[in-house]
Amino acid sequence: MGLIKNIKSYSEGIQISAEKREILTSFLSNGFPTTKDEEWKYTSLKKVIANEYSIENKGTIIDSSVIEKYSLGLKNKIIFSDGRLINSPSIKGVNINGFSEFESANTDSILQLNKALSKNGFTISVDKNTALENPIEILFFSTTVNGFSQYRNQISIGENSEVKFIERLQNLNNSASFVNHFTQINCAENTKVEYNKIQNNTAESQLIDTVNVYQEQDSTCNINTLIFGGSFIRNNLNFEQNGSNCESNMNGVSILNNNQLADNHTFVDHKSAHCRSNEMYKGVYLDNSKGVFNGKIMVRPDAQKIDAFQSNNNLLLSDTSSIDSKPQLEIYADDVKCSHGCTIGQLDDDALFYMRSRGIGIEEAKAVLTYAFASEAIENISVEQVKSLAKKLLAKKLNVDLDFSL
C-alpha cells in the first residue's frame, strides 16, 4: 500500500477538472522523487510515503483553549481547523479569504500534486499603501489521524505596503501526519514583507513546505524559518527578483534531536540588476538527527551589481548526527559580489572549559554556546514574540532551564 495507493484510490472518488486529472495521472505514473533526483539526493521520501494516510479530512471543532495554547497571543489570527477557515480577523486594507485557485510556475512534482489535490488554504490581498502595525498570525490545526493534507496559499501585497506574518502548523494528535504546504507571495513595488515560519509540530509529523516569492522593484522580503519539531521537514524556498533594488533575506535555525531530519533548499534567482540577497542558515544536530542544506544563488546574464551572500553553519553535537551541505553559485554576470561560506564543527572545548571552571554546568555551558551560535539568525527576526518563543524552544530542546532573552 502506501501513500501512492492512498492518493490513487482517493482520486478515483473525487470530481476534479480535466487539467487536474491529467496532472494527477502523470504524478501517479512518475511517483514521488527519489534520491536519484539531484534535488533529493540526500533526502529520501521512501519511509514517508510508505505509511498509510487518510486524505479526506474530517474537520472537528476545536476549542479556544487549544488555540490559546499554540498562539502567540497576537490580535490578528487566521485559524484553520483541518483545512477549514474558522476564524479570520477583519483588518482595514486587508482581504482575507479561503482557498482560491492560482497558477504556480514551479513544475516540481510535489507542487503538481499540491495543485491537483488542494482544496484548502488562504488567499490574502493587502491593499496599496497599507502598513500594518500588528503582525498576522496564521494557525493551521489538524485533528485527523495520519492525515495527508495539501494547503495552497497566496499572498499579494499591494504597492508601498508593509506587513508581517507568523505561520504555524500544529497537529492535535501524535500521529504521523504529512502536509504538503505551498505558499506564493507576490510583492509589488516598494513593499516590505516578513514571513516567519515556526515549525515545531509533533514528533511524528512530516512536512514538505514550498514558498515561492516574486518580487518587484524596490521590494524587501524576509523569510525566517525556525525548525524545532517534526520527524521529517523539507523546505523549498524560492525567490525570484523581477525588478531592480530588491532585497531578499533568509534566516533559518534548525535545532534537531532524536531521528529528526530537516532539509532546507533555497534558491535565489537574481534576474535584475542592483539587487541583494542575504542568507544565513544555522543548524544544530543532536542524537541521530540529520541535516541537509542546499542553497543556490543564480545570477542571470546582465543582472549586474548583485550582492549575494550565503552562509551555512552547522554544529554536530553527537556522534551519530550528520550533515550534507551543498552551497551552489551559478553566476552569469561579471560585475557581482557573490560569496558563500559553509562550516561544520563542534563547540569550542576551551570555551566550555572556561565556563565550567567558573561553576557553570556542562549542559548550561553547551546551551549558552549553542544559543550564541544560533542567535545571529534569531536576532534578525523583527517580531518580538517570535524571537522570545525561539529562545524558549531552544532552551527546551537543549534541556536546560535558561532564559536567553536578556
Binding site: L316, I323, S325, L329, I331, D334, K337, S339, H340, I344
Partner: protein, 485 residues
Amino acid sequence: MSEQKRQSEDKLLEKVTSSEYKYGFTTDVESDTIPKGLSEDVVRIISAKKNEPEWMLQYRLKAYNAWLEMEEPNWANINYTKPNYQEIIYYSAPKQKPVLDSLDDLDPEMKEMFDKLGISIDEQNKLANVAVDIVMDSVSVATSFKETLAEKGIIFCPISDAIQDHPELVKKYLGSVVPARDNFFSALNAAVFSDGSFCYIPKGVKCPMELSTYFRINEAGTGQFERTLLIADEGSQVSYLEGCTAPMRDENQLHAAVVELIAMDNADIKYSTVQNWYPGNAEGVGGVFNFVTKRGICHKSAKISWTQVETGSAVTWKYPSCILKGDNSIGEFFSVAVTNNRQQADTGTKMIHLGKNTKSTIIAKGISAGKSEGNYRGLVRISKGATNSRNFSQCDSLLMGNKCGSHTFPYIEVKNNSSKVEHEATTSKIGEDQIFYCNQRGIGTEAAIALIVNGYCKDVLNQLPMEFAVEAQKLLEISLEGSVG
C-alpha cells in the same frame, strides 16, 4: 562606469578573446595506425601489438564489456556533441620506435617540435635535472635518466614496458584505485589504453629528480588514452610533473586518461599538471575533449598533493581525487582553471576521508573570460570513522567580461562530530578600484590585470615546482593574452 572606460574594457576583452592558440602545428611523422572504430577485435589488436600477456588482454576485454553497458555521463554542467566512438582511431604509434642512446637519434622533425614548445630536451637534461619521458601519440619515444633512477631502484618507464618487465607490480596495482568499471571514460581507457607512464619508488627512497612526461596528441582523429600508474612505497617521496600541449585541429579530439597514485605508509607524492590542449578557436570549433579520471589513495600518514593549471581543452571534465584511507593521511588540491572563448570546464576534486585525523586542503581558482563557462565541482566526505578530520576549502572565481559564467557546486557530507569542515567561495570581477590604484601609479591597465591575476593565482602557482611555475605563468599569459602582459 563611464562609456569611454567601458569601451576600452570591451576592446581589451575583444583582444583577449581573439588571441589564438600559439602551439598549433602538426608534425609529419609516419604513423602506424589501425582502422578507426572500437570493437572487441580492436582491443585484441591493441593488446597483440603491445605483445601483452594474457591477463592484460583479459583485463582489457573485461573493461570493454563493462564499457558497452555504460552510458556517457551527462551530469556535468557542460554542453558538447558526444563523440562518435566508432569514428576514433584507437591506436597509432610512430612507425619505428627508436631506441635512443642519445638525443641526436631523435627524428629531426620531432626535435623541432619540441624546440617550438620550448622544451628542448637536451637543455632540460643538462640544466633542469629532469628525466623526461616523452609520449608522442601513445608510444614513448625518449626516455632519459633511466640509469640514474635505476641505481636508486626507481622504476620509471612506459607502462607497456612495465607490463612486460614488472608484471607483478602492474597486476597488483592497475585498476586498484580507479577500477575499470569506475566510470564511462575509465572503462574506455582500461579497454584501449595504448601507453602511458609507470613509476615505482622503492621503500624509503627519495626520488632525486622531478619526473615528468609530456603528452602530445599528434595524429588527426586519434584519441589518446593515457594510463599512468605511480606507486610510492613506504616512506618514499616523489614529485611528478605532467604537461600537455596539442597541435591545432578542427576536429574534436578525445582524451580520456586515467591516473592512479598509490601512496603507501608515510609516502609523499606530489603530482603537478600543466594542461594546454587545443581549446578550439574563438567560435568554439575544434578543440580537445579532456575527460580524465585521476585518483590517489593514501595509506597511513601518507600525503598526496595535486596541483593543476588548466588552460586548454574545449571541454574539461576532471576531478583529481584523494582517498584518505590511512590514519593521519593528508590530501591537497591546488588548481587554477582558466577558460576563454567558448571553453567549458567542469573540474574540482573529491576528498574522501576514511582514516582518523586525516586532513585535506582545497584551493581552487577559476578565471572565466570570453563566452566560456567555468565550474568548480567538489566533494568533501567525512565518513563516520574519520574522527578528528579536518578540511579547508576555498574556491574563488574571477569573471572577465559579461558573457562568461562561473559556477560552484560543492558537496559537503559530514558523518561524525569531531571533524571540522570549512568551505568558502567567492565570485567577483577585478575591482575597478584595484585597476584604478595601479593606473594611478603609472601601471597600464593590461599590466595591472596581469599583476592582479598573478596575485590571485599565487597560492596555487607557488605549489608548482620551479620549472613548471615558469611555464604555467607563460600559459596564463597566452590564455588571457591582451590583458595579461
